[in-house]
Amino acid sequence: MNSSPSAVAISLFLAVIAVTLAITYWAQKRSRTTSELYAAGGKIKAWQNGWAIAGDLLSASTFLGGIGMVYMAGYDAVVYAFAPLLGFVVMLGFIAGPMRKLGRFTFVDAAATRLSPTPIRLIGALSGLAVSLMYLIGQMLGVGGLIEILFGIPYEAAVVLVGMLMVIYVTFGGMLATTWVQLTKAVLLVFGTSLLAVLALAQTNFSIDELYERAAAVHKLGAGLLQPGGMGLSAIDSASLSIALILGMPGMPHLLMRFFTVPDATTARRSLAICITIVGVVYYIVYFILGAAGVALLAANPAYTDGSGMVPGGSNMVALHLAHFLGGDVLFGLIAAVAFATILAVVAGLTVAAAGSISHDLYAKVIAKENRSEQTEKFVFRVSTVVIGLLGVALGIAFKGQNILFVTGLVFSIGASACFPILIMAMYWSRLTTAGAVAGGATGLALSIGLIVLGPSVWVQILGNATPIMPLSQPAIISAPAAFIVMILVSLVTREAERAIAPA
């Protein structure tokens, strides 16, 4: 296949930019107050928020990486489908409703309601900021390479373009623009993946059995492609990854922030049920149909693979090559545009969360306190957005070509080991003290970072050592329980001073 960008791909790429900028222009007139900037004024409907949360979560790594992972490792990749869905169930069962009721703009609001606010906001904002920034850097690194391949734009220019767009969306349109960009992207993603799935199944007369038979016939793993073991994960590695995804998901600040965009707790929970359905459908299509379709239709096709069975551009490009196989330049252009929209929506959500941590949790609640004004807080939010945009661009360019697999692991590990324990214990355990929450959160944060640095992803692959000090690539099985244990022990030996409930 010709890898140069088609006129269709470039036209649809420009159309995505035009539509998202039009959304921002429309939202800008409706984003005057801090409530509108952070939370779209709390006026988003359940179905809108459900689609927007799905748009916030479903990143390019889900869509492109998921199909590529099945192409490479086979059936084992499904752990990346059910574990995040379980994370959403935990979020729905324990977090979403109380979060909407207790908080105002950020997840730290809910945790700080009954504990001493300054230390909780510091540790909560630090953890949240670490998650948002790491996630953002990971997305920016992916963005440059992807857009370079899809549209022929140089890596550095692509990173600058995405950085500029995300700053424009968030600075001018705030959460309202971000919501509609995410919603639009989620609709495009469901449409794009469904279209690919229908066209792929049409190749086998809509027989999934035949699709899997053809996949097994051409892949190097043979029938093993459809059986457990393709990724070679040990039981403890697999359990640790699942814990990170299940407990990390309800600790993601950019997802939690979306619950403040709806009017009440019932709507927050309803929107999450809608989101779980959308994400479940996309995951099923990606992991159970398109992954197998990529193998069945491309792996032995000399027009799309080299001698080893790999497609040009690596496994992340399987979805694009599959689109080209099924629908030529037009479908390739459409799916490329969907991938681009996917990236924009996720970085916008992360930017709102990171800027909110700085302007609301740190500036308004810790630094300025009674001296703050709405005008100043809005100004700090917008300046923070620009700074985060510049930081994302600078780090995206600085880390060009680096192996960034550890970033995703780190993000979910911090979410599971710092954000989630603070949040759920503050909500449900009356004995929790500020000292316990801070000690547990700090333990989770430090262990997440430290153990990942000592693990195979950084210690061996980046720093070049022969063997890792920490054998697990995902440390959540250690760091998350450690955070809870420290939180409980320190709370049991300290006392919390009685104080009035502070408004968020």
């Binding site: 935990v90 109380p98 207790l102 009954r114 459809l226 059986q227 159970f288 355990w429």
Partner: protein
């Protein structure tokens, strides 16, 4: 302040986590069982069926959890110490 536990949410979460964890445990305890064809000559395996269920269960449990929610939006009791 403490949030009163939503029993339906807790039960639903426990069911979903238990079922999907059992499926994941089978990966390591009984991989041969998971590789069993669903019917004679089929390339679809028990792993495919259980994997499908592991995606469907969170969706079904999610909708079941919100069935008891009140329409006025005030669904969580928050008690202050």
């Amino acid at each position: 302040m403490n949030v009163k536990l939503d029993k339906r949410g807790a039960v639903g979460t426990a069911i979903a986590v238990a079922l999907v964890s059992a499926y994941q445990a089978l990966y390591f305890l009984a991989p041969d069982f998971l590789a069993t064809p669903l019917w004679g000559g089929s390339y679809l395996t028990v792993a495919f069926l259980l994997g499908t269920l592991s995606v469907a269960i969170p969706v079904v449990v999610g909708w079941w959890m919100i069935q008891g929610d009140k329409a006025d939006g005030e669904i969580f009791d928050v008690t202050h110490r």
